[in-house]
C-alpha cells in the first residue's frame, strides 16, 4: 500500500531533526531511508514529492557545505558563526 506523501514528509523531517548538528543529510540519504523502511510501498517519486513538501513549507531548507544537503532552517550567515 502506497505511503502518503505527507507521512513521508513528516518522517523525513524527524530524521533531519535528529541528525541536526551530527550529520548533514542529502536527498539521497532520505530516499534510501524511506526505501529501506517501506520497500516497494514507496517510490523515489513519492520521496521526491515529500521533499518538495518539506522545502516548500519552509520546514527544511537546502544547504551547501561541500555538497548539497537538506537541513533545518538555520540562522542567516551561518558560515560567519
Amino acid at each position: 500500500m502506497a505511503i502518503p506523501v505527507e507521512q513521508l514528509a513528516d518522517e523525513m523531517y524527524e530524521i533531519v531533526k535528529e541528525s541536526a548538528g551530527v550529520k548533514k543529510l542529502k536527498g539521497g540519504d532520505l530516499t534510501k531511508a524511506m526505501v529501506a523502511k517501506y520497500g516497494d510501498d514507496v517510490s523515489r517519486a513519492d520521496v521526491k514529492a515529500a521533499i518538495r513538501v518539506l522545502i516548500d513549507s519552509g520546514r527544511c531548507v537546502y544547504g551547501y557545505f561541500g555538497g548539497s544537503s537538506i537541513e533545518l532552517p538555520h540562522t542567516e550567515a551561518a558560515e560567519n558563526q
Binding site: K26, G27, G28, T31, K48, I51, R52, I55, D56, G58, Y62, G63, Y64, F65, G66, G67, S68, H74, E76, A77, A78, E79, N80
Partner: protein, 399 residues
C-alpha cells in the same frame, strides 16, 4: 572614481594595454560601497597572500536548492560593504543570444539589487551576477522571474545545461544544439533546482567535434556532434583552393593525425574509414569540406576540470546517437545513468569517478548498455600538461 581607496597593489593591474577588472570595479566604487570594500578586501588579500572569502550555507531562494552561491567576508567588521557578497547564477539563453533589451533588463535589475558587477559568462555557462546581500535575494529573484528569467544550477544538482551557437551561426553543427539544450533545461527543472544527486552533473553540448563548449574536458556528460558517413567534398571549391596557391600539402595533408588524406592534382582523397573526425581539414578548407550527411552526436561521460589535480577527460559512452525532437532517446539515457549513479554512487562522487570505481563493465551493465569498441579508455587523461617532470635535475646533463 573613489580616490580614498589606497590600493597600490591593485593599481598595478590597471597598467598595460589589456582590459583591467580593477579599472571596471573602480568605476563602480564612486556609486557602490560594495565595490569599494571589494577592492579594499582584495588589496588586503594581495598584501597578506591569502583569501578572505567564506562560502556555503545559503544556496537559493525559497524552494530552490541552487542558483545562489552564498559568500561572506571573513572580515565583516573591516569590510562591511562585502559582509555579504552572494553570487546569483541566472540560467542563460541557449547559445548565449540576447537582445539588447534583455541585457538592459538584467543590468537594471542588478544595479538596483546588487553590486552591478557581472560575469558574462561564468565557466558553468550561466549569466553570473556577482555580489548582493541576503535580503536582496528574494527581491532580485522576483524581479528576474517577472521578466521571464530563472536561476541556474549549483550544488549537487544538474547544472544549467550549456551549448554552442550551433546551427544558428555555424555551418558545422551536426544537430540543433539550441533545441536540445532548451529541451533538457525544461525537461529537468526539478533536477536543476532541487539538489538530489551525489554531486554535480554538468551537461555541455557542442554541435561538432571542434567542441566549442569544451564538453570533452569540462562536462560530466558531453553531447558532441559527429557524423557517420564521408566528409562532403565540393570539388570546385577544392580546385579554387589549389589554384589560389594555398599550401594544402603542408597545412592539411601533413597535419592529418591519421594520415588519411592525399592530393591528386586538384582532387582531395580522404580515406574516411580512418578519419577520426578531428575537424582539422574542414577547419582549414571550410569552403571545400564539410561534415557528412548522416549526422548525430557522440555522448561522452566523466569529464571534470578541477585545476591542478583530478581533472579527467570524458570517455565515449555512446558512439553515435541521432539527436532529434522530442529527444526521448536522450532522456532515456540520462535517466538510466542518473538512476544507477544515484543508487550506487557515494557522496561527492562525480560520474567519472564513479565509473572508475565500479568499472566501466559494471557501469554499462547497470545502465543497460552493451560494450562497444568505441568506448575507449584513452584519451581520458588529465588535460592539464605539466612539464616539470621532463626537466632533468641540474648536473645530469639534461636540457
Amino acid at each position: 572614481m573613489a580616490d580614498d581607496l589606497n590600493t597600490p597593489l591593485l593599481d598595478e593591474l590597471e597598467k598595460g594595454p589589456w582590459p583591467s577588472f580593477v579599472k571596471d570595479i573602480k568605476s563602480l566604487a564612486g556609486k557602490k560601497e560594495m565595490a569599494k570594500d571589494l577592492l579594499r578586501q582584495l588589496e588586503k588579500s594581495y598584501e597578506d597572500k591569502r583569501g578572505y572569502w567564506k562560502h556555503g550555507g545559503l544556496v537559493g531562494v525559497m524552494g530552490y536548492g541552487g542558483g545562489v552561491i552564498g559568500r561572506y567576508s571573513a572580515l565583516p567588521d573591516e569590510f562591511p560593504g562585502v559582509s555579504h557578497f552572494h553570487t546569483l547564477r541566472v540560467n542563460q539563453p541557449s547559445g548565449w543570444f540576447y537582445t539588447t533589451e534583455a541585457l538592459r533588463e538584467i543590468t537594471k535589475i542588478w544595479d538596483e539589487h546588487g553590486s552591478g558587477l557581472t560575469n558574462m559568462h561564468g565557466s558553468t555557462g550561466d549569466l553570473v551576477l556577482l555580489g548582493t546581500r541576503t535580503e536582496e535575494l528574494e527581491p532580485t529573484f522576483r524581479a528576474l522571474t517577472e521578466k521571464g528569467w530563472d536561476l541556474g544550477g549549483s550544488g549537487s544538482d544538474l547544472r544549467t545545461p550549456s551549448c554552442c551557437v550551433g546551427p544558428a551561426r555555424c555551418e558545422n553543427a551536426c544537430f540543433d544544439t539550441l533545441a536540445i539544450n532548451y529541451n533538457l533545461t525544461h525537461q529537468y527543472q526539478d533536477e536543476l533546482h532541487r539538489p538530489m544527486f551525489n554531486y554535480k552533473y554538468k551537461i555541455k553540448i557542442s554541435g561538432c567535434p571542434n567542441d566549442c563548449t569544451a564538453a570533452i574536458a569540462r562536462s560530466d556528460m558531453g553531447i558532441i556532434g559527429i557524423w557517420k558517413d564521408d566528409i562532403q567534398v565540393d570539388a570546385k571549391a577544392m580546385a579554387e583552393y589549389v589554384d589560389s596557391g594555398m599550401d594544402i600539402q603542408g597545412l592539411v595533408v601533413e597535419n592529418c593525425p591519421t594520415g588519411c588524406i592525399g592530393m591528386d592534382g586538384k582532387e582531395i582523397n580522404i580515406d574516411n574509414s580512418n578519419c577520426v573526425k578531428c575537424m582539422h581539414c574542414i577547419n582549414v578548407l571550410p569552403k571545400a569540406l564539410s561534415p557528412g550527411k548522416e549526422r548525430g552526436a557522440a555522448i561522452t561521460l566523466g569529464a571534470k576540470a578541477p585545476i591542478v589535480e583530478g581533472a579527467l577527460f570524458g570517455s565515449v559512452i555512446i558512439p553515435f546517437m541521432k539527436i532529434e525532437e522530442p529527444f526521448e532517446e536522450m532522456h532515456d539515457l540520462i535517466e538510466r545513468i542518473w538512476e544507477f549513479w544515484d543508487e550506487h554512487g557515494t557522496s561527492r562522487e562525480r560520474i567519472g569517478e564513479f565509473i572508475e570505481r565500479v568499472s566501466l563493465a559494471t557501469f554499462l551493465e547497470g545502465i543497460g548498455e552493451k560494450p562497444l569498441p568505441q568506448m575507449i579508455k584513452a584519451p581520458r587523461d588529465n588535460p592539464y600538461v605539466f612539464y616539470e617532470e621532463y626537466f632533468a635535475e641540474e648536473g645530469e646533463g639534461g636540457k
